[in-house]
């Protein structure tokens, strides 16, 4: 059983089906990324889970609790989910600390973060303190010295920890805890307008985490940040979500983000989930060429199937048949992660001589025969796109059409344009049906 179970979910705007029979299971404590191009329905999926829009049919369960189903549409505020929108959407009129504490239960007695131990919180004086300038000034001042004298005066202070007081301190403590967690302890008194984009997004995350939600929903939380900050923050956020054992659903159109952060990736297109699996699964065994192209660079060649191999411009390569559309929505039922899929592929392989589409990743091509699991071929370097850590090298093969392929080569080993090189291939090629 998944912690979050989405079954046969459909959402339409008028006559347009935005989500079409979507099913997804999210294991407890895992981070699932929904990856897709804009307009594929991924944000709609997130909003449907949040309860922010009505669904046409289907069910959503969180921790065994039905939140959306036939006749059931639990209000968003009662779903106990954390929400991190794309542009942080902090409450502009509240301090950072109050933003973080917004969803935490307040006591009737006093809901101020800076309630000092000596302050008579339940009495009129306490209530008025927030309304007057002097009261605020008093509150902002540290209580050292004041607390001792006031403790005798205040009848409430005689009982050291009333239940309310306990909750009160826990609220303030939780705010501090989260501010510390996202590294913004010194900014709790700031106004949101004084924060940078990255800081605002951290506050937004802390705000969502504060009430300990059953499920965290993140809607492209890093899209609005500059690239350098983005990669730093997302690593941090992923670590944080894992550290909290949070179950999270992240929506993104950035394949690098999805692959690097998530435990499982769901690739969406046109309102349907095309593939669900681990990042390695999705990247190395994409269910179709579109998914392959969406999650990363590809080298695509035409070829012919021949007894577990494909004949193509690169020669005769060992290949896996990917012709069976395999939509894995339930990771538990899958074979051991990263294991071979050969058995099922073998049973349904096409007849020899059938035309297939051959697909490779540029990094599966290597320079030189060393480490190659496949026969090698000669090629000429035609262009190099240098990217620092590595480079995308365009090559013309030695066949009649001078077929162009690209290889990702680590920076130290780069050839020069015009060099004649030997190409090795270190992994089985993927073969898909044509068309």
């Amino acid at each position: 059983m998944g912690w979050v179970t989405i079954e046969a979910l459909s959402v339409s705007y008028g006559d347009t089906h935005v989500l079409d029979d979507v099913s997804l299971r999210i294991p407890r404590g895992s981070l699932v990324a929904v990856l897709g191009p804009s307009g594929c329905g991924k944000t709609t999926l997130l909003r449907a889970v949040a309860g922010l829009l009505p669904v046409a049919s289907g069910t959503i369960r969180v921790g065994g609790r039905l939140v959306t189903g036939p006749g059931v549409q639990r209000a968003p505020e009662k779903r106990g989910m954390g929400w991190v929108p794309q542009d942080a959407s902090l409450f502009p009129h509240l301090s950072v600390g109050e933003n973080i504490g917004f969803g935490l239960p307040r006591t009737k007695q006093n809901d101020d973060l800076y309630c000092e131990p000596g302050e008579a919180s339940g009495r009129v004086g306490g209530l008025l303190a927030g309304l007057t300038r002097r009261g605020r000034a008093n509150r902002a001042r540290p209580a050292s010295g004041l607390a001792g004298t006031a403790a005798h005066a205040s009848p409430l202070a005689a009982v050291p920890i009333s239940p309310d007081r306990g909750r009160q301190t826990s609220r303030a403590a939780r705010i501090i805890e989260l501010a510390t967690m996202v590294g913004l302890t010194e900014l709790v008194d700031r106004a949101p307008s004084q924060l940078s984009g990255g800081q605002a997004q951290r506050v937004s995350l802390a705000r969502a985490l504060a009430p300990r939600p059953d499920l965290m929903l993140l809607d492209e939380p890093f899209a609005a940040l500059d690239p350098l900050l983005r990669s730093a923050l997302r690593t941090e956020v992923a670590a944080l979500l894992r550290g909290q054992h949070n179950t999270s659903l992240l929506v993104t159109h950035d394949q690098e983000e999805a692959l690097s952060l998530a435990d499982f990736v769901a690739v969406m297109r046109g309102g349907k989930i095309l593939q669900f699996g681990t990042p390695a699964d999705v990247y190395e065994r994409p269910v179709d060429p579109w998914v392959a192209g969406f999650v990363g660079d590809t080298v695509e060649l035409d070829g012919q199937w021949k007894d577990g191999r494909v004949e193509c411009a690169l020669g005769s390569l060992a290949a896996d048949w990917m012709g069976v559309p395999a939509v894995h929505v339930k990771p538990e039922r899958e074979r051991p992660l990263g294991g071979p899929m050969g058995e099922r592929g073998a049973a349904l392989t096409p007849a020899d001589g059938t035309g297939v589409s051959v697909l490779l990743r540029p990094e599966w091509l290597t320079l030189g025969a060393r480490g190659s699991a496949q026969p090698t071929t000669d090629a000429v370097v035609t262009a190099i796109a240098y990217a620092g850590h590595d480079a995308l090298v365009s090559l013309a093969l030695g066949d009649a059409e001078k077929t162009a392929v690209r290889a990702r080569i680590a920076a130290p080993d780069l050839p020069r344009i015009g060099d004649r090189v030997t190409l090795g291939i270190c992994q089985n090629a993927l073969a898909y049906p044509l068309g």
Binding site: A50, E77, R79, W83, P85, L90, F91, H93, R133, R207
Partner: protein, 345 residues
């Protein structure tokens, strides 16, 4: 030409651009402001120091003001004088219109701001009273509230309730309402506790109805600037509708509410048409501010002295200065109290 004189020339040029050009641009506005706002203020301050009929007759210093203060508290039998009564009526009127209008408008604007059908139609419907001539709408109200042939009284009578005098009723509402529940009124209580007259309440209701559309549109304009994502974030953080209104919407729309508070306070203090149309003339043969001066707000009193008692123009000017100081004081007070409650981004 030497470098020095070049520089001097340039400096002159810059002076021209920095000082004279802006002045030129502002001149039309400043001229109008002077002619219709600033000059009249000084003129009426000047007039208030004179006995002034058709023209200035005699410089009498602060005599007009001492008469103003005399008439605050020297009515027959210890009751407030004409000015005192007028101040009380004005206070009832402002307190009765401004907060009520803003609260109702806030609720309506919130309803209009949620996605509902016929939004444009409803918004127009609320705005129409505001653009309708106050006189025309007021006359319609006069007919509705007519004790003999008015629709309201026939409606009351058809369900077995007693007909009311409405705009002709100078009785205070306080004792009237209590007696409906069989509770008597103690004569020892101060007079202002009895509340405004029935007639004034009718005027207040009309004013609220009349100015509601303006307030709704202003608040709506403030509401649409609130980022819906912020509201969504709040909902996901667990707030219900009431908390949404008090913890998110209200603070975020507070600059608009404050603006509205100031504008409607000022216009409420100054409103003349509403009172004049509803409770004077109209075939009842009574002067402005009748019945028994129970709807005699300060602007109407100024009008009375200015046009109905032509010899006391100087006194009317003194009353205008009183109104000026009063409005200024109340607005400053509002600024001071609201300073910390209003959130500017």
């Amino acid at each position: 030409m030497s470098t020095v004189s070049m520089m001097r020339l340039r400096r002159k040029r810059r002076r021209l651009e920095r000082i004279w050009l802006p002045t030129l641009y502002l001149a039309p506005t400043l001229l109008l402001l002077w002619a219709f706002d600033i000059y009249p203020i000084f003129l009426s301050a000047w007039m208030s120091l004179w006995r002034w009929g058709i023209k200035a007759e005699e410089f009498i210093g602060l005599d007009n003001y001492s008469r103003v203060f005399d008439e605050i508290g020297s009515g027959p039998g210890g009751t407030p004088g004409e000015v005192g009564n007028s101040l009380l009526v004005t206070a009832f009127y402002v307190v009765g219109t401004v907060p009520v209008t803003i609260i109702i408008a806030f609720v309506i604007a919130n309803m209009l701001n949620s996605r509902i059908r016929f939004l444009a139609v409803l918004r127009t419907a609320y705005f129409v009273p505001y653009i309708t001539s106050t006189v025309a709408a007021g006359l319609a109200f006069v007919w509705l509230l007519n004790p003999q042939i008015g629709v309201l009284n026939s409606a009351l009578e058809s369900v077995g309730l007693p007909a009311q005098q409405w705009l002709l009723d100078p009785e205070p509402v306080g004792p009237k309402v209590l007696s409906m529940f069989g509770i008597g009124w103690s004569e020892n209580l101060p007079g202002f506790l009895e509340g405004p007259s029935v007639a004034l309440v009718c005027v207040i209701v009309f004013s609220v109805w009349n100015s509601l559309g303006f307030a709704v549109v202003i608040i709506l304009a403030g509401l649409v600037t609130i980022d819906p994502q912020v509201k969504e974030a709040a909902r996901m953080d667990g707030v219900n509708s009431w908390q949404m209104a008090t913890r998110i919407t209200m603070p975020l729309v507070s600059p608009t509410l404050f603006l509205l508070l100031i504008v409607s306070t000022i216009s409420s203090f100054q409103s003349f048409n509403e009172v004049y149309v509803l409770t004077s003339g109209g075939g009842y043969g009574a002067g402005a501010g009748s019945p028994l001066d129970s709807t005699l707000t300060l602007p109407v009193l100024i009008f009375r002295h200015l046009y109905e008692r032509p010899s006391s123009v100087g006194f009317a000017a003194a009353l205008s200065m009183l109104l000026f100081v009063l409005v200024l004081g109340v607005v400053l007070l509002q600024f001071r109290l609201a300073e910390r409650r209003v959130h500017y981004e």
